[in-house]
């Protein structure tokens, strides 16, 4: 059984078919990448998986459970956690609080018990703080714990966002363009970091523009164009696929590319 199974996923916005009959699977212990030119519908796929949009057709099956059309809070508790293309941190909250929000669905006391001190609240808060310490250690942000999240440098903000998603203890981590705006050195470091995340989660779905990064770390690549899948396979297979090259460079570009080789 696959970790994540996406079957015939389709969504239309008015007349536009943003994701068209998309099917792919993710296996445990692998990094799967979703790539495609701008506007191919990659982020829409993430929004469909995480419950922000409800698909018109198709199914999403996570670890044997059908989560098609479930609301975001259900999706998170079932084990899908995401980051955003343009970093979305809680800007007026501390680094610690950002992490605590990431694990809020696992904190086992409700709104009423929030209002006054009680054994359950104290116990859970203690556990939450401990886990926060551990996760901050993991993403290497311990010394920024009580800083405001937006005062961190850009790269650290990315890491905080990943930490926030990680602390939700997801089965699958969805990373939406984590390398955007990074320089080559940072990208190198990031790719090692992402690879290492496989110790924490069962699978990673990566959306990325940077081809070098994708080819380096992916176990499997799914290529989208105009909302539809045009190719799926190992990095080297995808790299040599004629249709993929055309999608990125255009027909003429692809021809020139072949000629120059």
């Amino acid at each position: 059984m696959s970790l994540l199974e996406v079957k015939n996923l389709t969504i239309r916005f008015g007349g536009l078919v943003a994701v068209d009959d998309l099917s792919f699977t993710m296996e445990e212990g692998q990094i799967t990448s979703l790539i495609g030119p701008n506007g191919a519908g990659k982020t829409t796929v993430i929004n469909l998986l995480t419950g922000f949009y409800t698909p018109n057709e198709g199914k999403v099956i996570l670890d044997g459970e059908d989560i098609t059309g479930a609301s975001t809070d259900i999706v998170v508790s079932k084990g899908l956690s995401r980051t955003f293309q343009n970093i979305r941190l809680f800007s007026n909250m501390t680094v610690e609080d950002n992490i605590l929000i990431g694990m809020q669905h696992r904190i086992g006391y409700g709104s009423f018990l929030s209002l006054f001190p009680n054994p359950k609240k104290i116990e859970w808060e203690k556990r939450a703080k401990e886990e926060t310490t551990a996760i901050l250690e993991r993403v290497d942000l311990s010394k920024y714990r009580y800083e405001k999240s937006t005062s961190l440098p850009y790269g650290k903000q990315r890491k905080l966002e990943i930490g926030r998603a990680l602390v939700a203890k997801p089965k699958i981590l969805l990373l939406d363009e984590p390398a955007a705006g990074m320089n080559p050195v940072e990208k190198k470091e990031l790719s090692l970091f992402i690879r290492s995340l496989l110790k924490d989660v069962k699978g990673i779905l990566l959306i990325e523009h940077d081809m070098k990064l994708v080819m380096d770390i992916s176990d499997k690549i799914v290529v989208l164009n105009h909302g539809a899948k045009i190719c799926e396979g190992k990095p080297e297979e995808v790299q040599n696929n004629q249709e993929v090259i055309e999608a990125y460079l255009g027909r003429k570009g692809a021809h020139n590319n072949a000629a120059s080789k």
């Binding site: 979305r88 941190l89 909250m93 609080d97 929000i101 808060e125 009580y146």
Partner: protein, 329 residues
């Protein structure tokens, strides 16, 4: 490092201590103003929960205040009930009103919140004005006695003062507990970025309902105390200006800063009373509120990265900076 006794808590304790000894140093008139301060503190803290933590600006918070005031006034007038029982009904009814106002929030965002809260206050006021058999309409209810608690009637305003002070203390502590809990964090997350909050699995609507309800209850409690302080209630008191006054207090104190709210309430309640001394200024005393709003908004914007937690602190920082800059030149 995070400290257990931060500056804000220390200032809070100082204010509480000052208030505790105040009755020994003031005349009855000044004491009455201080009681108004206490009511404004509770009222504004309830709004600050909604604005500063919940991120929803309510332009009709006076509605809850008036519901609280009228609930206790009507119960006294029609049944002659004790404040201890009235209090429970105040909590219940204002809580329900808060819940009611929160219901449309599932469908609307941003600008419409302003509109809904404004209209809600307007409708509540119209009901109070026109529901003659219960609220006595335009006339209002007069002759409300001092608080009776389990059969014991408060004899002096000093007792009333300490009673209200207990409420200020409880409100502050509760707000503090709430902010440092899962609920408080979730609310702040929604305030900062509702989409990211949703992505983290926070259900926006139930949290909105809860924060509106809690906020309404505390505003209602402040209102119920107001009815007993003034000994009368009339619809004209609870107009839009009361809501705006409350916003002024919160804004001066700083959004999400409850200690600041206490200071704001002291400042903005005492200032207009102080202006009473000057005959000419007295006529225009309420302008102070307007000026404060404009000026604080003016100063706020200039401290980057601190968009939500300014107010007094920011104001003084700005003054200091200006001083420092002048000295350098």
């Amino acid at each position: 490092m995070k400290k257990y006794l931060d500056t804000r808590t220390i200032i809070f304790l100082i204010i509480m201590a000052g208030m505790a000894v105040a009755p020994f140093l003031t005349n009855p008139y000044q004491l009455r103003i201080l009681i108004s301060c206490e009511l404004n503190m509770i009222f504004a803290m309830s709004l600050n929960l909604l604005m500063g933590i919940g991120g929803t600006v309510s332009f009709g918070h006076a509605a809850f205040y008036s519901i609280g005031a009228y609930t206790t006034a009507c119960l006294w007038y029609h049944f002659g009930w004790d404040y201890s029982t009235n209090f429970l009904l105040v909590v219940l009814i204002t809580g329900l009103a808060g819940l009611l106002l929160a219901l449309p929030m599932s469908r609307i965002t941003g600008r419409y919140v302003t509109i809904i809260t404004l209209s809600f206050a307007e409708i509540v006021n119209l009901i109070i004005r026109n529901w003659d058999p219960v609220t006595l309409g335009q006339m209002g209810i007069v002759g409300i006695p001092n608080i009776t608690l389990f059969g014991y009637r408060f004899k002096t305003k000093i007792q009333f003062f300490y009673f209200a002070l207990i409420f200020v203390f409880i409100t502050y502590i509760l707000m503090k507990w709430l902010v440092d809990s899962k609920l408080g964090r979730n609310l702040q997350a929604m305030r900062d970025d509702s989409i990211a909050a949703e992505a983290m699995g926070i259900r926006l609507f139930p949290n909105k309902v809860i924060v509106f309800t809690i906020s309404a209850i505390f505003a209602g409690i402040a209102g119920s105390l107001y009815a007993h302080l003034m000994t009368y209630v009339e619809p004209a008191t609870f107009n839009a200006n009361l809501s705006f006054t409350c916003i002024s207090i919160v804004v001066v104190g700083g959004l999400g800063n409850f200690t600041g709210t206490l200071i704001g309430a002291l400042f903005l309640t005492i200032l207009p009373e102080y202006l009473r001394r000057f005959d000419f200024l007295f006529k225009y005393r309420m302008i102070a509120y307007g000026l404060v709003l404009v000026i604080v908004m003016w100063l706020n914007h200039s401290i980057p990265g601190l968009k939500l937690k300014q107010g007094f602190a920011a104001f003084f920082r700005k003054l200091l900076h200006r001083k420092a800059a002048e000295e350098e030149v």
